[in-house]
Symmetry: D2
Subunit: 139 residues, 4 copies
């Protein structure tokens, strides 16, 4: 595995008064792609990053073409571009599966110890797992 593909359902209410999906909702879609990624990674029961917690440190998103509402979900590819000591980066591509790209984005995430209320370092196991999601060709 390198890239993870999430099929993101849209909602009619995601449109704004201009009749296209509002720019804020794209950031919501990134959240859904992350949750889906972490959910799949955690299915063997040995990955606890979502339980331990993770904070968004930053987002950068570029909108490339307007997205109209549709009942079919929109594919979002997500992959790892950097694994640091106490942070990691995800990249995303929101597209239509036929080459048309609606948006590209990057998020820096920080593992967070909610009990102690402070950021923490990545464990070696976490680094190994995240490295397996790294897409060399795109990073």
């Amino acid at each position: 595995m390198a890239r993870h593909r999430f099929l993101c359902p849209l909602r009619w209410g995601d449109m704004d008064t201009y009749g296209h999906v509002n720019n804020v909702m794209f950031v919501r879609y990134l959240e859904e792609a992350r949750v889906d990624l972490f959910d799949r990674l955690g299915r063997d029961g040995t990955w606890d990053m979502l339980d331990t917690g993770c904070l968004v440190r930053s987002h950068a998103i570029t909108y490339r073409r307007p997205l109209a509402h549709r009942t079919a979900p929109v594919p979002i590819d997500v992959w790892v571009t950097r694994v640091g000591a106490a942070a990691f980066d995800l990249a995303y591509e929101i597209h239509d599966g036929d080459g048309a790209v609606y948006a590209t984005a990057e998020t820096t995430l920080v593992p967070y110890d909610f009990a102690a209320e402070r950021p923490r370092r990545l464990t070696d196991d976490e680094k190994r797992r995240l490295a397996a999601l790294r897409d060399e060709a795109k990073s």
Copy 2:
């Protein structure tokens, strides 16, 4: 005028299950700050950018500290950092008025001709007005 300050009301429902304002809602707050800025600029009736339309080309946002829900609004400062031929940049600071900064962000906006369905160039009048909002000290 250089910086524009918008007092952004929070909503209880902006919190996510972690008990803090969700990262996506900060991007909604940026939208509110832009709408408030354009609303004030347009009160003399000679500025029609919001009518003509404007698309978000990109956002970059960095989260600096968690924001708990509160009934008092959160100040957002917004100012212009760049005026190009067919795009301009806004910068924002979401803070508490006492030096604590919750997030900083930057947005590139593109004036858009909705009738013709394509981006357009800024007029000289628009450039002049945006330049007046430029905060040299911060850009």
Copy 3:
């Protein structure tokens, strides 16, 4: 056909700080179920209610048990309970497919002429189509 079943995807961000899907989001789910219903009804190209427009006149919703976030969609059954001269009623059941009901609701909808900016009467064709969605056993 009598009842229409929509499989409603949840989003992680639909949860509020109590860790369950927020009550407001259930009303959003009702909207998604209506849009899906009208989309299916309109696929033969002869039904134009969504184009012509339709306003919500009222909602009544009863919450029966808390709904935790999950990646599997939640089934929503929707059917017609009344067809009047200038309004019709939909009923919904948000459930888990195994007998557990999360919420039941009813919405009164009014066909609306957006060009003339006023409500309008249902046509005979619309009444016939809506009547076919009527679930006698439940209304």
Copy 4:
């Protein structure tokens, strides 16, 4: 005190593609009015209903006229219409201060013991406080 008035700020993004405030957002505004009411009631430090918790049992809302986006907040009046053994009802009127009513609504709330994960009865003190918010003329 009988009725409590909350000045509800709108957001540009509350509009849907029809250019009016979406019906779902009205239910969000009801939540804001409740939070504001409970916040004021709790300022003497002796009222702990929001800490203890409270679940929405049902909503009924009727939409009376479309609400366009505006920068001025929309007044919402909220008052108590019934105090039962283990539930109470609130009524709301979303209006413009000049007699035009956008929506009226009613919510049944159930005090909930989140530690024990079950509904609980209202205490005598809670009943007394809620009764003071009862608006006889309107209930």
